[in-house]
């Protein structure tokens, strides 16, 4: 009997070792440990044995079963690894294909906005708040209150953008500096006042770029076309005032 077991074991171990893929190993498992497998068959013979042999035979079969199971698992693991390796080999991507850069690579903050944020940050640290006011102003706010008399050259058409006069002769203008914001704040707020007033200001210039002179670039700028004429706009003027009681 034990010779039979030995023979069976070596046969099964050989089959296991010879199983070339997961299907084959499953077939070996069914043929050996399955309900009608050869190892299970042996157990069914147990009943026919004399009692004194039953125990030894049972132990021998269990040992055989354990060995076959272990061999099956080991072989299966090997085959699984091989199968995975084989599959992964087919799943090769071209890692040099470019990815989309994403929105953060395309979106940009305008340099003037960035500098405005920088300036606000610096003055905030010194306790200055940010004040704002309208772009369309009156002569009174833009000039009179700022001690700029009617005959001052800055009030002439060639420096200031005006709107058409109204029936009463008054006319609005585009502020030439952000100082009117200072006036509005001083009128409406009790001192002490600590503000900066960033914003667009509008001034016509005979030479559009006269204001923007990084010296080394002056020459190249002069050659540019002046199709848009004499204009300096969008310059965010910034002005502040500090008032305190004595």
């Amino acid at each position: 009997m034990s010779n039979d077991l030995t023979t069976l074991e070596s046969e099964l171990l050989a089959e296991i070792a010879g199983a070339g893929d997961l299907a084959a190993i499953e077939a070996v498992r069914v043929a050996s440990l399955g309900k009608k497998g050869r190892v299970s068959d042996l157990m069914s013979k147990l009943g026919a044995l004399p009692n004194e042999e039953k125990k030894a035979f049972g132990q021998a079969v269990n040992t055989l079963k354990a060995r076959v199971t272990e061999a099956l698992d080991a072989r299966k693991a090997v085959l699984e690894t091989a199968a995975l390796d084989a599959r992964l080999k087919t799943e090769r991507a071209d890692v040099t294909l470019p990815v989309r850069q994403g929105p953060q690579a395309e979106g940009r903050i305008h340099p003037v906005s960035q500098v405005l944020d920088e300036v606000i940050e610096i003055f905030a640290d010194m306790g200055f708040a940010v004040a704002e006011g309208p772009d369309i102003e009156t002569d009174e706010m833009n000039f009179d209150k700022l001690n700029i008399p009617a005959e001052h050259p800055a009030r002439q058409d060639h420096d200031t953008f005006y709107f058409s006069p109204k029936a009463d002769g008054s006319r609005l203008l585009l502020r030439t500096h952000t100082s009117p914001v200072q006036i509005r704040t001083m009128v409406s707020t009790k001192p002490p006042i600590r503000i900066i007033a960033p914003g667009r200001v509008y001034r016509m210039r005979q030479r559009p770029d006269a204001h923007a002179d990084v010296p080394s670039d002056r020459r190249s700028r002069d050659r540019r076309d002046h199709a848009h004429g004499a204009l300096e706009v969008g310059a965010a003027g910034i002005l502040q005032s500090l008032l305190r009681g004595r």
Partner: protein, 128 residues
């Protein structure tokens, strides 16, 4: 005016992110300030030594202006200054042409623009 000078010095140092900025104060005239000055900085701050660059005008708020706001110039005084943000931008970041600022040219904006992650803070440095 001592405060004004200090504020401008602190501002220039912080803005150009250097420990020292050479500054030159020149007497000038604006209708809304008195006394008035113009301020030049040494171009060392933007890496071009040997030149002075005019950057802003400032002064003590003119007594008439204070009076025009309903305050008593004998009791209140203050300082004011004006500086072009566009000019500051051009100086600090070496941008040559003012008109390109308003052209909405994507190539220009991507070249000179900033990432939304570059939020200027005093703690982290304004431009770094």
């Amino acid at each position: 005016m001592g405060h004004l000078k200090w504020v401008l010095q602190e501002f220039c140092k912080a803005f150009f992110e250097v420990d020292e900025v050479k500054m030159r104060f020149r007497a000038s005239h604006f209708p809304f300030t008195e006394p008035s000055m113009e301020v030049d900085i040494g171009a060392e701050a933007i890496g071009k030594p040997g030149q002075w660059l005019e950057i802003l005008g400032c002064g003590m708020v003119h007594p008439n202006v204070i009076r025009n706001c309903g305050l008593d110039p004998e009791k209140y005084q203050g300082f004011a200054f004006g500086v072009g943000l566009d000019r500051l931008t051009m100086l600090k970041y070496g941008i040559p042409d003012l008109r390109a600022f308003f052209a909405g040219d994507l190539k220009w904006l991507r070249h000179y623009g900033f990432s939304m992650l570059d939020v200027p803070t005093m703690g982290g440095g304004l431009s770094s």
